[in-house]
Symmetry: C2
Subunit: 256 residues, 2 copies
């Protein structure tokens, strides 16, 4: 029975997509069947795993707004065991179009439930917002993985994110757990990065992943080649960080 994890943080540019692509790809390399759902109209996750605009006929938008069967919007990627439901800019329209629909917060859950049994893990890459699409993703998920950039502004947003999680747990999805807080783009040379790491570990304790993703130029280059960094250059520090994260994730999710 597939576990569904939303990768979310309303702060922009903190590594949501990079984490979604590379954690999903690392688990796929470790022989898990993984589905990635691109819930961001910018569709960086889609191009990041090599699904290009000309290849796309059906998207998440068609499932949410058009009622298309989920299976019809699933694409294989160049990474074995990794499938994706892509997005295009059309998804921008969904925020406004869904407002008036009945059970508008549960539409993504219905999309996910149709295929949950076919995968070990399903990851939802969220856009930088606390709007309806993100609430949909949190309602469809068993847990939320929160990437936090080792920068000051990213720290400020965490308390607001916690409020949103509490609200979703109270009102719509009482089962939503915190999968973990992931420290990302860590540069050990910067004093600021070390301050943020300490503050996050004080604020969240056990909930912080032991694995920290370091800033690594190969991670920034991989999207240019439309592939996960773990497929582009398995020996790079970025790849090693994500493979370690995948192993820690599996340990946390293994049956006791």
């Amino acid at each position: 029975m597939g576990k569904v994890v939303a990768i979310a943080n309303q702060k922009g540019g903190v590594g949501k997509t990079t984490t979604a692509i590379n954690l999903a790809a690392s688990l796929a390399i470790l022989d898990k069947k993984v589905l990635l759902i691109d819930a961001d109209p910018q569709s960086n996750a889609t191009s990041g795993v090599g699904v290009m605009p000309d290849d796309i006929e059906t998207t998440l938008y068609d499932c949410l707004v058009g009622g298309l069967d989920t299976i019809e919007a699933i694409y294989e990627t160049d990474t074995p065991n990794l499938h994706i439901i892509p997005s295009t800019i059309d998804l921008v329209g969904a925020e406004i179009e869904l407002v008036s629909q009945m059970k508008r917060e549960f539409l993504m859950r219905e999309v996910v439930e149709q295929v949950r049994h076919d995968y070990d893990y399903i990851f939802i890459d969220c856009l930088p917002s606390l709007g309806l699409i993100t609430v949909n993703a949190l309602t469809a998920s068993d847990s939320i993985l929160i990437p936090v950039q080792c920068e000051f502004f990213a720290l400020e947003g965490l308390s607001k994110l916690r409020e949103t999680i509490d609200l979703v747990q109270k009102k719509i999805n009482p089962n939503l757990d915190i999968e973990g807080i992931l420290l990302s783009m860590y540069d050990a040379r910067l004093r600021l990065a070390n301050i943020v790491v300490e503050e996050v570990q004080n604020m969240f304790g056990e909930e912080v992943f032991e694995t920290i993703i370091h800033r690594n130029s190969k991670i920034g280059e991989a999207p240019n080649l439309h592939m996960p960094v773990v497929m582009m250059n398995a020996g790079s520090r970025g790849s090693i960080n994500f493979l370690n994260l995948a192993k820690e994730f599996l340990k946390n999710n293994s049956d006791p």
Copy 2:
């Protein structure tokens, strides 16, 4: 008659807030009267200029949704000549609450028109989205300044942003110009950064600011002290970049 500039890009973490704070503060240091409007519920611009949550009684949300007079939501900052209309997380509600209001795209324009004559320049810091609040900002503005991080994903989003600008110009605000494309977080040591700079200059030519904002640790530290980097450390490379940008901005806006 104050010029209104929206600082927008739906890609997250590209330097919108950093540009809004530091360009506004640099112009204030050059003796221009400047108003900064924080149109992002994350309210990084608000805390970045030192206006803290306990100081805030009225916000942009009160003006847009509650009809408060604009003057009632203006706060002075520690930077002379720089005022701000702050935001709080309440602004998240505005996206949904404004959907059903009449003339919903023009609400921010009404807020701005009330005080436009009191300032030389008004900057609107936008959230990473193409939703209703950002459309409101584009409708209220004379031009849009687009920060672009020197990274691949940031490049992908530009064509989508251009489509949105064309749409706003056609449907709601024919006067919206492009103030310029600002290359930000440039790290000369990275091959990727140089590829992106070349691509952006090819795509946008004259519209690209000559000033490039380099990645600089002082810029990341300034928010921790709740002040613009140009106030924290005027001699740092980051401050020099933003003061040069301010001078280039003034040159582009001086009467022929």
